[in-house]
Symmetry: C2
Subunit: 334 residues, 2 copies
DNA sequence: CTCCGGTTTGACAGCGCTGTCATACGGGAG
DNA sequence: CTCCCGTATGACAGCGCTGTCAAACCGGAG
């Protein structure tokens, strides 16, 4: 039979409650007692039963990460970051892919919460922006941290100044000499889509270049939408000399379509992306992009959440820095 | 306060135990009672408390997926498949990234099992091949299903005939007219690395082509190792006319290195991969590869596991079919 | 009408832990 | 030496559910 807390208590000559105190790092245990208990725990290789603990304490020591994201590499990194933070504090992580468009979306999350009782949630976009969900979470007093939410007020989590980053990378294109710069937009329901578009517009405006509607085409952050967008742009009578894609997946799609058109990158067309996920280094030529520290962001969001859960402060909305990665897909126009 | 089973029982005018029976689809409940209880459950929006259930029943209704894999897209697909199977049967999934090389690897898994008490595990390569782990699992009587394990005997799960698939794709290269065909091997601690190499050798041998040691270079399934391997191969005095890479990530690396050398694919060099993960369609030119139904494999492995857990049969080692995807990266040699 | 066996239902304990509260301890002040 | 108060420890109940086993019920055979 497995070792229970009671067994540890007996072996250490203390009461179960004292063992519990030691395990949970509670105050008011004599140091010598603490050490003795710890030794027995190690000797017997005791591991607490999480369900029992959860039932008794009304904490699950679990964080659930919710997502509905097309980019698996971005997501994996965020997830890894969340896991890292969880591990540090002996929390465990539950993952839940969701369809934010589904009619029963909120109810599904509700069920998850009722069943598993996670102590808190980490929301990644676009889950972090679903008004219906956020409202329900507030109603139920569920604590959550958001990664890159549209609305940062009264929310804890992590974000990056995406608009400024987008402005900078487009400015880089302008400095190279480009004037006809297109933008393949990502999902505008994501904050990311909106901010990156705003940064693009701002860069052009700052440089006195008019924003030409034909050069702004809709996509959805997927590779395929990048291909479509590029096809559309390259078919224009006066095609752009540079394309700023909403993210690296789309930028890779742009590269692909450019190949299809027999264009040489970056000589015939400059391309840049956003995120700096692995594919940006795996396509030819490597993509100029903005580095988004996704893993750090996952970790930080989860840390903020855990701080609040453990009563260690109110939790903050932390800003992380971006970094331009100038690689091989951008050059002066011919 | 949240709705408890007792509340449902009171509202339905039955005992808690009867509600429990209905919720768990147990026999010996009159149909009319069952319906009444179900109606109340729906009306009160009752959700069982998983920790309580788990504590009382000694089942956690949780499956843990263990991995240590460099390819995030492969993994995400497998994970999605596992989740799909879990959802169907109202199980939940816990994920756990691991480092199979770490000295405390087995102990970490041990802790996970003791703490969360998953009813079963889904192991993905290379976790599925770690002898120390498997032994511990047997000792502890932990039930698991493996995805593509090296040893299929006495194990449930799912596999694909990778050797035969590799043989077929290399044969495809031979039929195109290639004679100097190289292979960039994946990790040979993975079954995948071994099988694909074996298939490569067999295809050459079957065609009466000698296996040239210089044309077989070691990699580790990563993009970078594909780049390295290709650089090495292309620097040979008599470079190959075709390279079969251990997986799509490596094949993408080969393409990248070929670009670096100014080679035109597939005219100067044919390249093929294995797995059919998204990147194989996102590079230029699109990769000829072998489709591995990763999502299905995750689902099937988990289904086998759940069958065993629920006493519905002994569980099997299921073979899934592969499919050659002939795309744009292969052509006759010049 | 009684008896019998299977079916349906319920009473009750207990899963392994923690919260609450009472008690014991121990050292300094008076 | 006694009293007091903060610190350390333990007794006990109970978290929400299910396993076990006993009881009630029901329909058909005798």
């Amino acid at each position: 039979m497995r070792v229970r807390l009671e067994d540890v208590a007996r072996a250490a000559g203390v009461s179960p409650k004292t063992v519990s105190r030691v395990l949970n790092d509670e105050a008011n245990v004599r140091e010598s007692t603490r050490e003795r208990v710890r030794a027995v725990v190690a000797e017997l290789n005791y591991r607490p039963h999480l369900s029992a603990r959860s039932l008794a304490s009304n904490h699950s020591y679990t964080v659930a990460t919710l997502y509905d994201n097309p980019s698996s590499s971005y997501l994996t990194e965020v997830q890894d970051g969340v896991l890292e933070a969880c591990d540090q504090r002996h929390y465990s992580m539950l993952v839940r892919p969701l369809d934010t468009e589904a009619p029963d979306f909120v109810e599904r999350v509700d069920t998850l919460i009722s069943a598993h009782r996670p102590d808190g949630l980490v929301l990644t976009p676009p889950v972090s922006d679903h008004p219906g969900l956020l409202q329900r979470l507030h109603e139920r007093n569920v604590i959550y941290a958001s990664v890159s939410p549209k609305q940062r007020a009264d929310t804890i989590g992590v974000y990056m100044d995406e608009q400024e980053a987008a402005r900078e990378i487009v400015t880089h294109l302008i400095q190279l000499g480009h004037r006809r710069i297109a933008h393949a937009i990502g999902h505008t329901v994501h904050g990311a889509g909106t901010w990156r578009l705003a940064g693009y517009r701002q860069a052009l405006t700052d440089a006195g270049i008019p924003v030409e509607p034909a050069l702004v085409v809709q996509g959805d952050f997927s590779f395929d939408s990048g291909v479509q967008a590029a096809r559309q742009l390259l078919a224009l009578e006066r095609p752009p000399t540079a394309i700023f894609a909403g993210n690296d997946d789309m930028a890779s799609g742009v590269l692909w379509a450019a190949n299809e058109h027999g264009l040489s990158i970056p000589n015939d067309l400059s391309v840049c992306g956003f995120d700096d996920v692995p594919i940006s280094r795996q396509v030819w030529p490597t993509l100029t992009t903005v580095h988004q520290p996704a893993r750090d962001m996952g970790r930080i969001a989860c840390q903020q959440l855990l701080d609040v859960l453990r009563g260690q402060g109110p939790g903050r909305m932390v800003q992380v820095p971006y970094a331009l990665k100038l690689r091989a897909s951008t050059a002066p126009p011919r």
